[in-house]
């Protein structure tokens, strides 16, 4: 840059002073060159033609007329770019140009899957749905007769707060207070909410604080709370244990057995 004007240099120490970016003068005078500002000899200019229709299936793509146009060097379509090439982690299955179908969300018929399979324990691909599906609803079983449950949620405020840890318990018991069926889930401490598999152990048993500790331990062992939230992973793991005790005492213990030491 020949004679680009300079900023007057600051007097005294730079400590505590605002220092202009080294290229700030180029930026405020329009002298800075961005990719679009460069003209190189023999530059080939590309144009992208977008589909006018979302979610359209591509039946055929006849480019012969475009290829005959004066000055057109090449026409490239999805046929020439079959290799998947996603820049973003969510787009690993994207091709450069549309192949078969214009990639936008839309219906491809309906299907159902158990909620436990819908969530995937993967921080990047978090749901077991395809790119062209959206979740339209959750079907709750019509009867919950005989079941009782509770949900304990750790949060900083009382309302509209994301959980920092959560324990959910649903249980069906017989007249004696024995567990017939139990589903226990932890959330907010893994990329996905998870059913605790060892909750199977509760089946057929009366309230047993030791068994509660065992199941809680299993859930905590596999939890990976992130460091980025409002509380430490240690605290959140500890609260999962506390919530297991409280939730299971509430649903399973039901006052049959005097409270343990918690």
């Amino acid at each position: 840059m020949s004679q680009s004007p300079a900023l007057p240099s600051p007097n005294g120490s730079p400590i505590g002073a605002r220092i202009p970016m080294v290229d700030s003068v180029d930026k405020v005078t329009g002298a800075g060159k961005y990719a679009d500002d460069l003209t190189l000899p023999g530059t080939l200019v590309g144009k992208i033609l977008h589909s006018p229709h979302a979610h359209a299936h591509i039946r055929s793509n006849d480019t012969s007329e475009s290829e005959r146009l004066a000055g057109v060097y090449a026409v490239v379509t999805g046929r020439e770019t079959p290799v998947k090439y996603g820049i973003l982690p969510i787009g690993h299955d994207e091709t450069i140009f549309a192949v078969n179908k214009v990639l936008l969300a839309g219906p491809r018929g309906q299907r159902e899957m158990p909620l436990a399979e819908f969530y995937v324990n993967d921080g990047i691909i978090r749901m077991a749905k395809s790119r062209d599906e959206i979740a339209t609803g959750i079907r709750v079983p019509p009867t919950s007769a005989g079941w009782s449950g509770t949900y304990k949620k750790l949060r900083i405020r009382q309302s509209i707060d994301y959980p920092l840890a959560g324990v959910a318990v649903a249980m069906r018991k017989d007249g004696e207070g024995n567990c017939l069926q139990a589903r226990v889930a932890v959330n907010a401490v893994n990329p996905a909410p998870q059913l605790v598999k060892t909750a199977e152990l509760l089946k057929g048993k009366p309230y047993d604080p030791e068994l509660v500790e065992q199941v809680a331990h299993d859930a905590i062992r596999t939890s990976k709370p992130l460091r980025t939230s409002a509380s430490t992973p240690q605290y959140r793991r500890q609260m999962v244990r506390v919530f297991f005790r409280r939730a299971l005492r509430e649903v399973w213990g039901n006052g049959h057995i005097a409270g343990s030491a918690e």
Binding site: Q3, P5, L7, P8, R18, P20, M21, D23, S24, V25, D26, K27, V28, T29, G30, A31, G32, K33, Y34, D36, D37, T39
Partner: protein, 170 residues
Amino acid sequence: MKKELVRLRINGQIREAEVGPNKLLLDVLRQDFGLTGSKRGCDDSSCGACTVLIDGEPQMSCLMLAVSYQEHEITTIEGVAIPGEGGSELDPLQRGFCMEGGAQCGYFTPGMILTAKHLLAKNPEPTDREINEALSGNLCRCTGYTQILSSIRKAIELLREIQPVEVQQG
């Protein structure tokens, strides 16, 4: 389409080019005159990156046909610095944007500076609200408008220092 000779007065200089009657002012500035300080952001007047001053008024050059502006005074970002002996000197607005970090990535800065230039010419002591309103057509995709606001405030401060001198001379 038949090309015709256009004569434009840009930054105080007469410049000529053979252009089609449908050529946009932005493209003439960038392609025919190499004035790439005016940027193409959205191409549909949403972003303000292509703002130039036409007779002192901010206008988006991506919407204007070059041939229609032959009788007008066009100012681009390249014409904002003040020419002087031994090189040009930055305009107070340009200094403000440098000193307060308002240039950020720099792509939308030329349009912002030209819009602010018009604002301060009209209203040397604008309120923050007036500044925000004036700049509402200039987007920033770094999304930091605070430093842009403080850059303009800084420029107002710098202008106040200069002002009394000009009054004595005038």
